[in-house]
C-alpha cells in the first residue's frame, strides 16, 4: 500500500516507457486529488493536470480521455463498486462517450458477502468539511470559511457505480470483467 491501488497501473505503464498523461480530479471536499495524487504523480515523474471535479465529462466529449481509472473502497462479489463520491458520474460520462472505465483494487476490497451495491453503507462525514477549506500560506495551514454559516451541508463520502458501467476490474491476480462469474474465475476459492 505504499502506492494507492488506482495509481499502481499508471506507474507500471509509465515505468515501461508508455507516455501517460493523467487528468487528476481535485477530489473535493478534502482535495486528496490535488493535494496527494498530483503530488505523488509529480514525484514519480508522470505527466498530469489537475481539473475541477466536474470537468471529466467535458474532457471525455472533447476526445481528451482514452481510459478512466478509479480505485475502490468496497466491491461486491457481483462487481458493483463503492468509491469516492462522484465516481458514478464519471462512469456515466464514460459510458456515454464509449470510453473504457476500469477499477483498480486490492482483492481485500472485495466484500464477498454481498452482491448488490445498494447494501453497502455509505459514510456521511461532517458538514464542516464542505463549508470550510484548508490551505497552506506563510508556512502554516489555514482554515477558511467557504459557505454561508447558516446553510446546511450534506457530505456523502462515497457512491456506488453499478457493474454495468464498469469495463473491468484490475486486481493483483489479473484483470476480469465486472460480473460474478468472471470475478470468481480469478478467485475460485470464493465460489459457493
Amino acid at each position: 500500500m505504499d502506492y494507492g491501488s488506482a495509481l499502481a497501473p499508471v506507474y507500471a505503464a509509465h515505468d515501461r516507457g508508455l507516455s501517460v498523461h493523467v487528468w487528476v480530479d481535485e477530489t473535493r471536499p478534502r482535495s486528496q486529488g490535488s493535494k496527494l495524487t498530483a503530488w505523488e504523480l509529480g514525484q514519480h515523474g508522470v505527466r498530469h493536470t489537475i481539473i475541477a471535479d466536474g470537468a471529466g465529462g467535458h474532457l471525455m466529449q472533447q476526445g481528451a480521455v482514452d481510459l478512466v481509472m478509479v480505485g475502490s473502497d468496497r466491491t461486491t462479489r457481483a462487481g458493483d463498486v463503492a468509491n469516492k463520491i462522484g465516481t458514478y458520474l464519471k462512469a456515466l460520462a464514460a459510458k456515454d462517450n464509449n470510453i473504457p472505465f476500469y477499477v483498480a483494487l486490492p482483492s481485500s476490497s472485495f466484500d464477498w458477502a454481498i452482491r448488490d451495491g445498494s447494501e453497502i453503507p455509505i459514510e456521511e462525514r461532517g458538514a464542516e468539511e464542505l463549508k470550510r477549506a484548508e490551505g497552506w500560506r506563510n508556512g502554516r495551514m489555514w482554515e477558511v470559511s467557504v459557505a454561508p454559516e447558516s446553510s446546511p451541508a450534506a457530505n456523502y463520502g462515497f457512491d456506488v457505480t453499478p457493474r454495468r458501467l464498469v469495463t473491468g476490474l484490475i486486481t493483483e491476480r489479473g484483470v476480469c470483467k465486472a460480473d460474478e462469474k468472471s470475478i470468481l474465475e480469478l478467485f475460485p476459492e470464493r465460489a459457493s
Partner: protein, 141 residues
Amino acid sequence: MKVGEQHFRTIWLHPTNERVVQLIDQRFLPHRFVVEEVSTVEQMAETIRQMHVRGAGLIGASAGYGMYLAAIEAGRTGSISAKEFDARLIGAADRLKATRPTAVNLAWAIERVLAGLAVKQTLAVQEKVKRARKMGSRSIS
C-alpha cells in the same frame, strides 16, 4: 511512495520502540512531510477518521497496526487473563471498524489480526502477544 528520489513506506513500526507506529500524515502533503507517531488504538482510530491516511490499502494497514498497538498495550497489563485480553481486542476492533464504514478493507485487516492472534480461541496471553509482535515486525500490509 516516492519522495525526492527516495522510496518511502506510508506506515511502519518505530525502529526501536515497539509501542509506537509511525506514518506519513497525509493532511500536510504536499507542503510538509510530517511523520506522525501513534501509540494507542484510540489515537489510530482518530488518525483514520480524520483522514491522516487515505486509500483502501493504507486504511486497512493502519487498522491492522491499531490492533497491534491494542495487543501490545493489553499485554503490558500484568496478569491479564486471556478472556480479558480478548475482550480488549474485540473492543479495539469495534472502535476501529466504526471509523470508516464504507471501507471494507478496514474490517478485513482487523479480522485478519483477530484470527492471527487467536482471539476467542484458547491460547496463553503471552503467546498471543508474541504473535502480535511477529505481525507488527513483518508489517501487516
